[in-house]
């Protein structure tokens, strides 16, 4: 599926997650965040950098991982990305929605 985000044509799945990370940039992230009513601050970007880092190392993302990350505690994570923080943060970061483990 294609969607126009930040004036660019971007490939996304049915839930809006990017299917090609190469199409992501900060502007795209900001635009998706805007759709979720989130204004990205430096703190948000720190978290997004952490998520990218984990993702590129092929390490699965989980709330437990956040707890141990040393970057942010879970409470603040919920405050930055209200609702489903992992789902929203990965959507904005342009990486796949974490698979709930089997």
């Amino acid at each position: 599926m294609k969607k126009i985000i930040a004036n660019k044509e971007i490939d996304v799945n049915e839930e809006g997650y990017l299917t090609d990370f190469n199409q992501w940039d900060r502007e795209v992230g900001e635009c998706i965040a805007g759709d979720c009513d989130i204004k990205l601050t430096d703190r948000h970007w720190e978290v997004i950098d952490y998520l990218h880092d984990r993702h590129h190392k092929d390490e699965p993302l989980s709330i437990r991982g956040i707890k141990k990350s040393g970057v942010i505690d879970v409470k603040e994570f919920y405050n930055l990305f209200p609702g489903g923080p992992l789902k929203k943060a990965t959507l904005i970061a342009g990486i796949p929605k974490p698979k709930s483990c089997i």
Partner: protein
């Protein structure tokens, strides 16, 4: 003489001992199994124990009975794995050298991970049913409980047998109906997932059943703490759920041995090659069953499929041949839905469970994702199959280690 050492004599370790003793030449190889407990528990029975469907006797036997002749059995706690020295240290200080190590130490509950869970309410109005002790204590509680808010809760994923909590909720519905007190019990199912199961197709079918049985669902609930004074669980988004009786599945973690030995991930699971079952770090260490970090269900049936493939791969490893990349994550499980019915699902790393039949393509008799009595009989027969066939490493009729796509209607998982 060379040594194969198996750590853990649960479902996986016992199966491996039975497979390997048949395949290896006694003159060249000695096989040793170590486990800390005398008793082998039939863990799937812990689901039925609280409802007085199984007795305590039906879910435990002496573990040694299932270890074949020709295999050394040591009952002792394992202290440390020293991969660089190819050695394992037991609690008494005894050291065992190995040429090949198979880690089958499983996973267990860790209620300490959540503040307040293991506190003043533990085994009073907060129970688990993933341990023998928990299931038995809960049985005694249910026998006298007069009703109120029953909350069935999953702390975090992954857990072994991920459908067991849902089955618990279904069985509770039918248990209270039979006791003539369903109207006095409000059942709520609380999960960190966004639905009833980890796979969307099965979630739809299961959601329907929850509604039908008048069981409420609270999803996306990531627990922060239990408040045992005020009887509520609280999540990171400050959502609160009140309970009179909390039946929780605590965090599941691999044994602390794995952490002590520096071999595990965040949850003490061993990073394992998902198609060959070789550990990622050490070529002479293999892992099987719940102890691995494979993205497959942690279940006895899965361990059964893994055991066949791992046996092949160990023989190949011994001969210096390349390992077979065969394990596809094949899982199947009966889901007990209460009132004497069950459904059956079958899936792997890449395919979602959808309607179809199993194990005879096109004929059945066990229907996938359809609730019926035959599946319930299948679930009940599993106990016999477990003690008499599965542990002994016998082939279960018609069931193969990799998944058959015949007779099933699949959707590829993207």
């Amino acid at each position: 003489m060379k040594n194969i050492l198996i750590l853990g004599a649960g479902t996986s370790g016992t199966m491996m001992a039975n497979h390997l003793v048949k395949e290896l030449d006694k003159n060249d190889w000695s096989i040793t199994v170590v486990d800390q407990y005398q008793t082998h528990y039939y863990q799937p029975g812990f689901l039925f124990l609280p409802f007085d469907i199984y007795t305590t006797k039906q879910v435990k036997k002496k573990g040694k009975k299932f270890i074949p002749k020709g295999v050394n059995y040591i009952q002792e706690k394992i202290e440390l794995i020293l991969p660089k020295e190819n050695k394992v240290k037991l609690a008494s200080g005894t050291e065992i050298n190995y040429d090949i190590l198979i880690v089958a130490t499983g996973t267990k509950t860790a209620p300490d991970e959540i503040e307040g869970m293991n506190g003043s309410g533990w085994y009073k109005n907060i129970f688990d049913f993933y341990t023998y002790e928990g299931a038995k204590a809960l049985r005694n509680k249910l026998r006298e409980w007069e009703g109120g808010k029953l909350v069935v809760h999953i702390t975090e994923m992954p857990i072994k047998c991920p459908v067991a909590p849902l089955e618990f909720a279904f069985l509770a519905d039918s248990y209270f109906k039979h006791k003539g007190m369903r109207d006095k019990v409000e059942i709520t199912y609380v999960t960190p997932l966004d639905g009833a199961f980890t796979k969307p197709k099965a979630t739809e079918a299961l959601h329907y059943l929850l509604e039908k049985k008048n069981i409420k669902e609270v999803t996306n609930f990531n627990i922060e703490r239990v408040d045992p004074e005020n009887n509520k669980i609280i999540d990171y988004a400050d959502v609160e759920v009140e309970y009179d009786l909390l039946v929780t599945v605590p965090t599941n973690m691999g044994d602390a041995l794995i952490e002590r030995s520096g071999l595990g991930d965040d949850l003490n699971y061993i990073p394992t090659h998902k198609a060959t079952l070789q550990s990622k770090e050490h070529e002479n260490i293999f892992a099987i069953g719940d102890a691995t970090n494979l993205p497959a269900s942690k279940a006895g049936s899965v361990a059964h499929f893994e055991a066949e493939i791992l046996t092949d791969n160990i023989l190949r490893y011994i001969k210096g041949e390349p390992l077979k990349e065969e394990f596809d994550g094949h899982s199947n499980c009966f889901i007990e839905t209460g009132d004497g019915k069950a459904l059956l699902i079958d899936f792997n790393y890449t395919h979602e469970p959808v309607e179809g039949s199993f194990p005879l393509p096109g004929i059945g008799p066990l229907k996938l994702l359809k609730e019926n009595r035959i599946n319930h009989m299948g679930k009940m027969a599993f106990r016999w199959v477990y003690w008499n066939m599965l542990l002994k490493g016998r082939q279960i009729p018609f069931v193969s280690a990799t998944m058959s796509e015949k007779g099933k209607h699949y959707e590829e998982v993207k």
